[in-house]
């Protein structure tokens, strides 16, 4: 394994920037809005155009800061953020931290996308409509579904929209008693939370000894109350469920519908389609599998696909093609309506379209192959490290990711997965994703070395884990006290985030609770 100089030499930027509300001086300005004297003279003072009861009495306590200082502050904060572009971001598994091509960003800034208003007539939106229709066609081909909506603004919201569709479908068929959704422990938490918000009771299948959702448990819970199955495959463990078509048959036989959460579809692109496993609906995260940048947690898009049977229920609008012209179909009486305003995050739709156009069928297949190859390669490197284990069977091979365990390391050294995560950042590597809840795998971590990462990247990542494991045996405290070379020292007391008397989600709350200084305040409290 290649030695990496970063194993000793890295240090994050340390700026110790104050909170922006502490910066600047009275009278400084960052930007000046335009004025129109003729208009002002014509209508008179603004104060007289506003009902007196609503006129602001005290100005908001915002920063007063000149433009260079605002820019400098936020550039420094950006330097203290380890975005995917800067690091080997293999660690954030289930997130598919792939490269977002810069050419997309350059073109997406065109006013022909950035300055479009969603209520403009279809004739003014022909370019973005054609792009949206194109992506619809691509995703139908990739998943086997018949229709797509791009309205959900993220994966979890797509799962919520699918829940709304299941709700409407059963109600329309006079089966309002169908109030149960079945999911699995290793499916994303939103596959339980979103249907619960939609009013369903949720049944969670535990894993069997192979790490697969228990098919016996599924048989025993389906009934005339089953509304549907909402499940991930492969699950967070990277284990593909080979009986998934049996799962969908059992649920269909009971009168339910089947939704596959395909937030992370990297390992199956061009390899397998959820339609062929019997699913009625699925979603893709355009900000994961299809390269739209993660944006510090959005904007995102959960493209929601369904079969012909469910197409009438999809959120409105959906895009149509008629000859050479494109339109939004808003007249869809059986639709569940809206889960979010307007038609969706079209800037994400644009990027996903561009990415597929740059890949083609062979590029998508290569994405799947290399992602799985990288994962198997990294697995081999990681399992050479004493103290790292991979719960559940080693064969057949995992696909896009693996949930590993550091239980043995913890037992031997007292160093657990959270400690290792916080030490990783001392090597210029983003801390890894441990696990979604519940933590069935003890001391878990879940890397996903997608196609973006080179062999050297995989080697470097594994070398960092190996280094930390060595340190855990030699100087456990050093690891437990990490990070040492990051942006700040360790947070003194994490319990304060749980304590109503001490937590502070705004600077004004922090000043009141911790500094004992209240502001000239514009609140009642």
């Amino acid at each position: 394994m290649r030695e990496t100089p970063r194993l000793s030499g890295y240090h994050a930027a340390v700026w110790q920037e104050p909170i922006i509300l502490e910066m600047g001086a009275v009278g400084e300005r960052g930007i000046i809005p335009s004025t129109d004297r003729r208009v002002a003279a014509s209508v008179g003072p603004a104060n007289e155009l506003v009902p007196p009861a609503l006129l602001r009495r005290d100005p908001p306590v915002l920063p007063e800061l000149a433009q260079p200082q605002v820019l400098r502050h936020y550039l420094r904060l950006s330097q203290q953020t380890l975005g995917m572009d800067l690091g080997v971001d293999i660690g954030e598994g289930t997130c598919t931290m792939k490269y977002s091509p810069k050419i997309h960003e350059q073109v997406a800034r065109m006013p022909q996308l950035a300055e479009l208003h969603p209520e403009q007539a279809d004739e003014a939106l022909q370019g973005i409509l054609q792009i949206t229709y194109g992506l619809r066609q691509f995703l139908c081909e990739i998943s086997g579904m018949d229709e797509f909506s791009f309205q959900p603004g993220g994966g979890a919201q797509a799962v919520f929209a699918a829940s709304c569709i299941l709700r409407a479908f059963h109600l329309e068929r006079g089966e309002s008693q169908r109030d149960e959704i079945i999911t699995s422990s290793f499916s994303h938490p939103c596959d339980a939370a979103a249907p619960a918000t939609a009013g369903f009771r949720v049944i969670t299948l535990p894993p069997d000894e192979h790490g697969l959702p228990d098919i016996g448990a599924l048989r025993s819970v389906v009934s005339e109350r089953t509304a549907g199955l909402m499940i991930t495959n492969p699950e967070d463990t990277g284990i593909f469920n080979p009986n998934i078509d049996e799962f969908t048959r059992i649920v269909h036989d009971a009168g339910g519908l089947c939704f596959q959460d395909q937030a992370n579809a990297n390992g199956i692109l061009g390899i397998a389609r959820c339609r062929d496993a019997g699913f009625d609906a699925c979603h893709f995260n355009l900000h994961k599998t299809f390269s739209s940048p993660h944006g510090s947690e959005g904007p995102a898009d959960g493209a929601l696909g369904v079969t012909e049977l469910l197409a009438p229920y999809l959120p409105t609008p959906i895009v149509r093609k008629d000859g050479d012209s494109y339109s939004f179909d808003r007249d869809r009486p059986r639709s569940v309506g809206k889960v979010r305003s307007f038609a969706g995050n079209l800037q994400c739709v644009f990027r996903a379209y561009a990415w597929i156009m740059s890949m083609g069928a062979d590029g998508l297949r290569s994405t799947a192959e290399i992602s799985v190859l990288n994962n198997n390669y990294l697995q081999q490197r990681l399992l050479e490290i004493p103290g790292v284990s991979m719960p559940f069977a080693h064969r057949p091979r995992r696909l896009d990711q693996v949930r590993y365990s550091l239980a043995q390391l913890k037992e031997e050294t007292g160093v657990g997965t959270e400690d290792v995560r916080d030490r990783m950042v001392d090597f210029g590597i983003q801390g890894y994703w441990m696990s979604h809840h519940p933590w069935i795998v003890p001391e878990p971590f879940t890397p996903e070395p997608c196609e973006t990462y080179s062999k050297e990247d995989c080697d470097e990542w594994a070398a960092v884990i190996a280094q930390i494991v060595r340190e855990a045996h030699e100087d456990a405290d050093h690891v437990r006290q990490a990070p040492h070379r990051s942006t700040i020292a360790r947070i003194a007391d994490h319990d304060s985030f749980e304590d109503p008397g001490r937590w502070a989600m705004t600077w004004r709350a922090f000043k009141r609770k911790r500094l004992g200084t209240a502001d000239r305040s514009s609140s009642t409290s």
Binding site: I32, T81, D89, L113, E115, H117, C190, G270, I271, G295
Partner: protein, 467 residues
């Protein structure tokens, strides 16, 4: 691409490396990687997709050619609003949110992503000053979802299951609220009652509110400004009525108004929600939407909020601060179906945009912006109302949008808008599509981008269009 040229986005597609890695894991055929997927579930053909544009130059040309088919309005020529508004986006905001560090970060932890955490904490802190609350949530999908989640949160806090919402909410917001609040035959649904509005002012119909308000009501939701642009001067009286039955008042706002208009907490709001897009995010055909919630720093509120809340705390170095997630265990990431609704990736970058925007604007910029917008919109309303057969509905109080009745012209809103478009003007939003009682009316939006000359040009073109 199974063999052959490497793809520029996929380093290990270089044939030599690929072979080396296959050797390392002991496979001869790449197909062996997929042994977990039974043949019956495998796609037995190549995907039918267009031939790829592997060259960046050709890809760019293709994308630009497509987007050039779009026709965004020239600055100052579009009068569309209705939940997505064109405002000036300062260059510094674009610079910061375009930074690769922010653009490509995701869910990293407190130390490597310190800057992301701090920027979001600063967004929360500055929004708190605008709305007058001590807690502001991490962004959610949009105003509509923020309103819907606020209603469900109020139901959990009060232990009641009915809420009142004015009929002035726009069509999308109405549909989202209905979807998120749920269906009565399922569990945990919140029943939505609709409040009438006064036909002349557009404000809440107070007798209707009194009629519907009782101690079964969890919350009353009002907006300042409403979808129809109107302001609600009775807000404090509404708050008194609502608090009289121990219900909560939720106020939806466009935060851009709050340099000029009162912080909702000052007139009795218990929860504030609204839209972040005006604070430094481009419209992107509606893709710029982003929502927020705010409420008092009390455990009964915090514990029922479904969204992420970033908090600040001291580090081991005196004077230094770090950040983390407050009461994470209440969220759906931790509690799955037992959580308070759900949270997921939504619009984090818009929170950073809002932080930069508010820091640039400051208290003076926000006040001046509010002033000039309200002046321009009133100037526009005056100009349009002076045209024969054209009347301005609702008032006298509105912020940047107002309803224009065109019924008297004998022409439909659609016909008039087509005429305006010939002069390069995008007219008001046709309200008849969404409000039966507003057939023949259009919602016009005027912002700081519209000069007096732009407004005069609209008036002249409208006069011509109806002639």
């Amino acid at each position: 691409m199974t063999e052959g040229a490497a793809h520029p986005y996929i380093p290990n597609s270089a044939p030599e490396t690929r072979r080396e890695m296959m050797r390392a894991i002991g496979i001869d055929d790449i197909e062996e990687l997929f042994e977990a997927i039974p043949q019956r579930l495998r796609l037995d053909r190549r995907l039918l997709l267009p031939e790829p544009l592997a060259s960046e130059q050709l890809l760019r040309r293709h994308l630009v050619e497509l987007l050039e088919r779009d026709r965004p309005a020239a600055e100052g020529r579009s009068f569309l609003g209705g939940g997505c508004w064109q405002h000036h986006v300062p260059a510094v905001v674009d610079e910061v949110v375009g930074r690769a560090e922010f653009l490509t970060a995701y869910s990293g932890s407190s130390y490597p992503d310190l800057g992301k955490y701090q920027a979001r904490f600063e967004y929360q802190s500055q929004m708190a000053e605008l709305v007058g609350m001590e807690v502001v949530s991490d962004p959610t999908y949009d105003w509509a979802n923020a309103a819907a989640l606020s209603l469900r949160m109020a139901a959990r806090i009060t232990g009641r299951s009915r809420v009142l919402v004015p009929r002035t909410v726009g069509p999308d917001r109405r549909s989202v609220i209905e979807n998120v609040c749920g269906m009565p035959h399922l569990h945990g649904a919140v029943e939505v009652g609709w409040l009438s509005y006064d036909a002349s002012s557009g404000t809440i119909d107070m007798p209707d509110l009194r009629r519907q308000l009782d101690d079964g009501i969890a919350a009353v939701y009002i907006e300042n400004p409403s979808y129809l642009g109107t302001l609600e001067p009775q807000a404090a009286s509404i708050a008194d009525l609502v608090h009289g039955v121990d219900a909560l008042l939720i106020v939806g706002v466009d935060p851009l108004t709050l340099g000029l208009l009162e912080a909702p907490a000052r007139y009795g709001a218990d929860i504030v929600c609204g839209e972040l897009q005006p604070l430094g995010t481009h419209m992107s055909g509606g893709g710029g939407s982003s929502g927020f919630m705010a409420f008092p720093d009390e455990e009964r509120f915090v514990s029922q909020c479904p969204l992420i809340l970033f908090g600040v705390a001291e580090t081991q170095l005196p004077g230094e601060l770090g950040f983390g997630e407050v009461m994470f265990e209440r969220t759906s990431y931790a509690l799955r179906d037992q959580a308070r609704d759900w949270v997921g990736t939504s619009t984090g970058l818009m929170g950073i945009a809002a932080a930069v925007y508010l820091a640039l604007m400051g208290p003076t910029g926000m006040r001046e912006l509010g002033e000039t917008i309200v002046q321009r919109s009133h100037y526009a309303a005056d100009r349009l109302a002076a045209i024969p057969d054209v009347t301005v509905r609702f008032g006298p109080h509105f912020f940047k949008e107002f309803v224009v009745e065109l019924d008297g012209t004998g022409k439909s809103v659609g016909d008039i808008n087509r005429s305006l478009l010939r002069d390069g003007i995008v007219g008001g939003l046709d309200l008849g599509r969404h409000f039966e009682e507003l057939d023949g009316c259009a919602l016009f939006c005027v912002t700081e981008l519209h000069t007096g000359d732009d407004i005069d040009a609209l008036a002249a073109a409208l006069e011509e269009a109806i002639a």
